[in-house]
Symmetry: C2
Subunit: 454 residues, 2 copies
């Protein structure tokens, strides 16, 4: 039977089907550091919509699970492909089909990298706002499938705000065109939004109509402020939001993150315990806003440094950008992704300190403080997540929920958070969501075991 | 059986159940001018979530259709309640439960009027951006149920962009809390977005967590420009968008609308054939943007007048706001609601002119030119829509779809557009959408016959 599936794929798709060990091993994991059990059957590199439809028709006919995949940069295991499954890569479908500067709309294939799209839009004076930290290496289709966030979300929105329509191939191979090309449109149910963040369980995104923005005119301004501890820094970030200024980016690094980044970059060690906020303003009022924010941060006890020029700004952002490599120097990491209302940031950092003490674990945390999205990094030795880390993570999730927050702000549920999904949704909603998924995919061949625990 | 349903409602809900002829007659219609056939069983004025749950439990047990209703200001017949149905009014549930200025979030009951909410938010320096023309008389719950648009959408977004979560009572009376309170959140499927614009067929919205904005600082600027004909005005509006300036509001009135409004207001008659654009800019750059737009409109052949002060601006907006009463002086109206990509506006006005000639009908049209949403008004005598008007409307819908547009930008499908829904969605998607609705409401008691033709 298994041989039969692969034979059918090869017969219809030829060299787009890769059955080498190397290719099959590569799709077992994403960037979460976690891998699926066993080897997948094959990797299909789709070149057009028809390839996707053919793959799904064969999969449906044979009851074979299919895992859609972009660049494999996910952090929740959503694209991990295991024993008996087909990995369906959209990465080679990377064309920009049209850009309308007049309508602020682009139509693209899903495999284009976010950064490549934005490089192509820039000469038109346009950009697509979603900016996950992975934007240089992640695809637009993956951004849509995970409902990716990023650094600019508080000011410029999330993926849901930036997609007008998607083309979706269902499990049985039928193609649906969802959404519209217009600013407004309320014809029927909003299935476009339902697909955004659905992590491959409803269908395979084979095209997208994106809502663009004009490039923000003028230079950006950057400032950094250090605080005695992370709670002060979090309170200062909340004060910025409460003051009514809107930074483009506002990032928080706790003491452990800041120290690790400084070590990695061979910079002088920061004051022990000190946490840092790094802020960018943009647009015509960038300078005025930077001054206002500097005043708020100073009043909140911060030691503020406004970058005098682009070089100094770049230096400040380099510290923030070195976070992931800096964490890797500490051990194996499990990156979490809770989000809380912005006013709850100080309380959430109190919870993290409590959990560090209770479980005896370091949890260096970086935070998109402008929108309340935290990435606590659990650090441990060896390849497998120790049970104590899962226990601490569960405590963390429950703390975030108690504070009015959510399990995942931008990474998605995948396999790593599925066991807590019902805690947030409630059992009734959990079942309803699974029934909705079954309408799209009655046989359950699309990304089985992801999002909803089996 | 029927008597039994009403008796059960009265037994459990007492004076919240209104069975007077006047009350039952009033809920047969919305503001579309169309009414349901026959008299409903009763009107339930829910005062809290438990009332809504009780009503739906009784309705489910007895298989009685329920039509949720806000203020009844819809324009597609979506809240019209007829023979054998219960109207479930949320209008009395009009409390603001919390406002968080720090988090830019408000939690409200669905029956509060949009304008009342904004009046209450203003002292906090906040507002909720959705601004349907009906905002003084329409409810937030109705705005959510229809996915309402408005005048400010191109700059400040539609309802979908301004709602973080909804509380939903299902057909069987269970309460679900959908969405989140945080800027980011991708836990499971985005059912909040699915409910927005679902017109009461998935459940009854009994609460909403709204995403607020800070009030835009500074004074607004207003200008008006007249053009030789509507095509020139539409081309000029497209030129404004293409020039990269973002007006807060940009409204277009064709010659018939402009003339009718001037007659109603007893202003001097405009130049025959002349169409008008009225534009508002806001924010710190309001004056500069108004000047840029004035230059674009002048270059496009417009005769531009920039309002010198608020009084003059108010005069210009009075002309636009008198549109609905002005249309009523011409006869009975069927207000349509197509939307097209902004660059297609001139072509859509060509289509309207063609349809006017082909069917011998006047179709005065007003248009949210900033976002491409047109409201062609079909004018006729007497209470019933003549068949020729439906034929012309169908021609209009197909023209909008051909131009990359949509059947309804902001009014919804209701009963008036349901026969064309499958034309836009395609049969596969139409069936999929109906199956999704059945997951929420297996017996089909919620607003039956709306959105999906029976």
């Amino acid at each position: 039977m298994t041989a039969d599936v692969v034979a059918q794929l090869v017969a219809e798709l030829g060299d787009r089907v890769d059955v080498t060990d190397a290719a099959r091993a590569a799709v077992r994991a994403d960037k979460s550091g976690h891998a699926a059990t066993g080897m997948p059957l094959a990797v299909v590199h789709a070149r057009d919509v028809a390839d996707v439809q053919t793959t799904l028709r064969i999969a449906s006919a044979t009851g074979t699970p299919v895992v859609p995949r972009g660049a494999g940069t996910g952090l929740a295991g959503g694209a991990n492909t295991g024993l008996g499954e087909i990995a369906l890569s959209l990465r080679a479908m990377d064309r920009i089909l049209s850009v309308s500067s007049d309508d602020l709309v682009a139509v693209v294939e899903p495999g284009i990298l976010n950064a490549d799209l934005n490089a192509a839009l820039a000469p038109h004076g346009l950009w697509w706002a979603p900016d996950p930290a992975s934007r240089d290496i992640s695809t637009v289709g993956g951004n849509i499938a995970t409902g990716a966030g990023g650094l600019l979300c508080a000011k410029y929105g999330v993926v849901r705000d930036a997609v007008l329509g998607v083309d979706l191939v269902l499990a049985d191979g039928r193609l649906l065109r969802l959404g519209h090309r217009t600013v407004k449109g309320v014809t029927g149910l909003d299935l476009t939004s339902l697909v955004i963040g659905s992590e491959g369980i409803l269908g395979v995104v084979v095209g997208a109509t994106l809502k663009l923005r004009r490039l923000v005119p003028g230079a950006t301004r950057t400032l950094a402020a250090t605080f005695a501890d992370v709670r002060d820094a979090a309170a200062a970030a909340s004060a910025v939001t409460a003051a009514g200024v809107q930074p483009a980016i506002m990032e928080l690094m706790d003491a452990a993150c800041l120290a690790a980044a400084h070590r990695l970059l061979e910079l002088p060690a920061p004051t022990p315990g000190a946490a840092q906020l790094t802020v960018q303003t943009d647009g015509p009022a960038a300078t005025v806003e930077a001054e206002t924010i500097a005043a708020v941060l100073t009043a909140a006890g911060g030691n503020v440094r406004v970058a005098a020029d682009d070089a100094e700004a770049e230096q400040l952002w380099t510290v923030r950008r070195s976070m992931h490599p800096a964490m890797e120097t500490l051990g194996t990491t499990l990156i979490e992704d809770v989000s809380v209302p912005r006013s709850a940031l100080p309380a959430m950092f109190d919870e993290i300190a409590r959990i560090e003490a209770a479980y005896g674990l370091p949890i260096p945390t970086v935070c998109h403080a402008g929108d309340g999205n935290l990435h606590p990094n659990f650090i441990f030795d060896g390849p497998d997540v120790p049970e104590v880390v899962w226990e601490a993570a569960e405590d963390l999730f429950r703390s975030a929920l108690r504070l009015g927050g959510t399990l995942t702000g931008e990474h998605g549920v995948g396999v790593l958070k599925r066991r807590w999904l019902a805690d947030e949704l409630g059992d009734d909603q959990w079942r309803l969501q699974r029934e909705i998924a079954r309408v799209f995919d009655p046989a359950g061949i699309l990304n089985p075991g992801k999002v909803f625990a089996p």
